[in-house]
Structures are given as C-alpha cells and as structure tokens.
Symmetry: none
Subunit: 248 residues, 2 copies
C-alpha cells in the first residue's frame, strides 16, 4: 500500500497523555485538540485544578470526545498504572538526570514500546512543571528544544509537538518489536518499595540520613528499563535477604 | 544595521511568519508565544479580522513583544515583500502544481534559504485557510501530517510545529550526554562476582541448579550501563547483606 495513513490498531492508541495539576481549562481543550489532530485519544488528568468547562470545550473544537473520555486520577501512580514505559517532559536542569532525549530522539523508542502496552507521557502544571518526585517516577525525560531566552512552551503546544513527532515517526518508520515483556509501572514501584524496606532492615539505608540512595537506585532501574522477569528476580533476591534476617 | 548584506545571527531571525485574515485574538497570542519559544520573532499580519487585545496578550504570555512588533499589511503581496522564498501551509489536496512537503522535509531548505534573506511561511485564516490565489503566490506548499479523521490543526499549533521543526533542524537537536563516569570493565566484573557469592550465601542461588540467574543479572547490568558511583552503591549493598550474615 502506498497509503501512508496510520492503521486502525496503531501504536498511537497506546500513547497515554498524562496532565498533572493542570490549572487552565483552555489548555485542557488545546491538549485534546492537539492529540486528536495527530491521532491520539487517551488522556489522563492527575488532580486537575480546573473544570472541563465551556472554555475547555471551545478550545477542544472537534476533539470534545477526547476531553469527555479523559480519566481523572488523584495521583500520578494511578495515572501510570499499567504503563510499560513512562516519560516526563521537562525543561529543568537536573542534578540527577534520568536519560534525557529530544522528542525526535525519543519517538521511535516510544512507539516501539507502545506496541507492547501503554506508554505514558507526563506533562506538569503550567506554573510549576513536575516535582522531582514526580519526575523520578518516570523512566525517561523529554526536553523539547527551545529558545534559551524564552523557554515557556505552552502546555497545549508541548503536547502538540510530542504528538506531531509520534505521528511523523510512525508514518516513516519500520519498528522493531522488543523481544521481552516490559514490567508495568506499579510492579517497578512495588519492587523499589520492597528494596527500600530491606535496605533499611540490613542497615544500609539510614532513614535519618537517606542521602541520595533511593533516587540513585531509582535512576539506575529507570535507565535499565526493567523486564517482567527481572522484577521477579529482584523481588526474589529481596525476599531471600529478608528471610535471612528473620532467621537471625 | 540596515545593510541587508549583513548576515543575521541566526537563520531563525530571517523566518517571517505571515498570518492571513486571522479572526481569533487568542490565536494571535498563541502564535507569538509559539514563535518566541522557538526563537522566531518576525510576525506579519495580513488584513487581521481581530484586534491585538487583552486575550491576545494573555495568550502571548512572555511573548507580547512579538505581538507588539507585528507588521500589519493590507494584502499578501505586501507581507511577502522582500522575501527570497515563500511557503504556504495547507491541509488541502493539491490540485495546484506547487511542490508540497512535510515540515520535516522542508525545514533544511527553508533554513538554507533564510541564510540568504527573508523566508515567509504563510498561514491562512482559521475558517477558510488560504485561497487558491493566495497559495499560488507561494513557491512551496507545506502539509503538516495529521489524523485523516480529524485534520483541524489549530493555527497556533500549526505555527508551533513549523517553528519547532526549524529549531530542531537548526540545532540538529542532540542533547549532551549526562556527565557521569562509566564503570570500568573490571569493576563491573568484580561486582558481579561479589553478587554471585552473596546470592549463594543467602540461598537464592543454588550452585547445583544455577539456572540462568547470573546470565540474566549480567544482561540486566549490561543494559543499564553501570556508572562508577553505582558500582560503589551496589557493592555497599552486597557488603551490608554479607555482614548481616556474619552477625548470625
């Protein structure tokens, strides 16, 4: 087929746009329109600070359906539940950077992952962006190139750029299929929680002086990109350490 | 400064965004912001059907200067005056014989031309786009890829996509790698050996039935790409587990 249009069961259906603490209804509408015009439809709202009101609907134009199907969550973990891959957009400089890519660099990998399950792209609030804790929950950072003298990209515009990159890349690319099944967000979070507990139990992590240990480990696991079986291995190791303790 | 033979600092300074018969002030603001955030500043308005009002300024955010410096023209020819190259954005099917490109295909040539003089990118009105007569005045057509089921790209979003493409192409958009020191081969090998020893000690690795555990862990660490400090962290954890054992 010479036709370059996207097929019905497109990886774009597995791209989940996650907006954290959005405060302007107009931006909700702009995001919905930006998504639909590029073929995305899955919108999650984490603790939205505004309503889907008349302004939101007006700005959504013909994409009101995307707004109306939006899933509202109380926290970021809920919005990342089930995701096989997570990426956060940010313009911040990081003292402890996760791998950071431009949308163009990231798009092929995001689409490849989206062939295996939901991929979450997280956007912070208009005023504050994402907190370090929120960023740390994501595996990759995405930096949209911008003018160093004025980096204030509008939320809807940021989603537009990402969605455009995904569509362009999809229309161009031949995608490799990953041979292993990626762990889900909540499985990785559960592992990290167990690891933290056992590191305290064996005295390696001092709760009074945690330093940067857990963020460092979090970053390490993010970079590796855990597979399902690897989560099982690590949980097995953590359990073995824990049962050693209980035999003391 | 008025000498037109003087090269601009950046080819982006020679990109002229031309909006024809824009009817929503909010879109004027969104366009100004989309431009400035990518480093563009030259805005022409052909026969605008709205004022640069409070809504336009609000949506422009920190890019009000771009709005205030906008040149208002009564017709398209005036806005194209002095341009060495002209391109019109359209979603229409090409019954016109002009060459049509995606933004990604067009960007390198647009930037190359912008090194020689002003390059005009023309965007039609929200409702009607550009007339055939207006399209015919431009040398190229630019089609932004979109969802065939919903092609209604917002004007600000369209300018954002073009401006983003120009900036990415100009920067060649490669982010510097994080400045962390990679672990040496022998450090990783030593860690893996210590890990294997302690996994045997805690009974997680059975030497008679090792299965694929160490190859799996080896693969995991290889994929992550250990840094020097991370080796220190993991060796610290291994030592903490070992000293738990010795306290038994």
């Amino acid at each position: 087929m010479a036709d370059s249009t996207v097929k019905p069961d497109s990886p774009l259906d597995n791209i989940r746009i996650v907006l954290v603490e959005t405060s302007h209804p107009g931006n909700l509408g702009a995001v919905a329109r930006a998504m639909k015009v590029m073929g995305l439809s899955c919108l999650y709202l984490v603790d939205p600070r505004c309503e889907i009101d008349a302004e939101a609907r007006a700005r959504a134009s013909g994409a009101v359906d995307v707004l109306e199907q939006a899933v509202v969550c109380s926290d970021l973990d809920a919005a990342l539940h089930g995701a096989v891959f997570t990426a956060a957009t940010t313009s911040r400089r990081r003292d402890l950077p996760h791998p950071a890519y431009t949308p163009r660099q990231a798009a092929p990998e995001l689409l490849a992952r989206a062939q295996t399950g939901p991929v979450a792209l997280v956007f912070g609030s208009e005023t504050y962006g994402l907190s370090n804790a929120q960023l740390a929950k994501c595996q990759w950072l995405i930096n949209i190139p911008s003018n160093p003298a004025y980096m204030s990209l509008n939320l809807g515009a940021a989603v537009q750029v990402l969605a455009y990159e995904l569509r362009c890349t999809l229309e161009d690319a031949v995608l490799p299929l990953p041979a292993f099944e990626a762990a889900r967000h909540e499985e990785v979070e559960a592992l990290l929680a167990e690891l933290e507990t056992v590191l305290k139990a064996i005295g390696f992590l001092d709760p009074r002086h945690p330093k940067r240990l857990m963020p460092r480990l979090r970053r390490f696991f993010a970079r590796a990109g855990l597979e399902k079986e690897e989560v099982a291995i690590w949980r097995g190791i953590v359990n073995a350490v824990r049962s050693q303790r209980s035999h003391n």
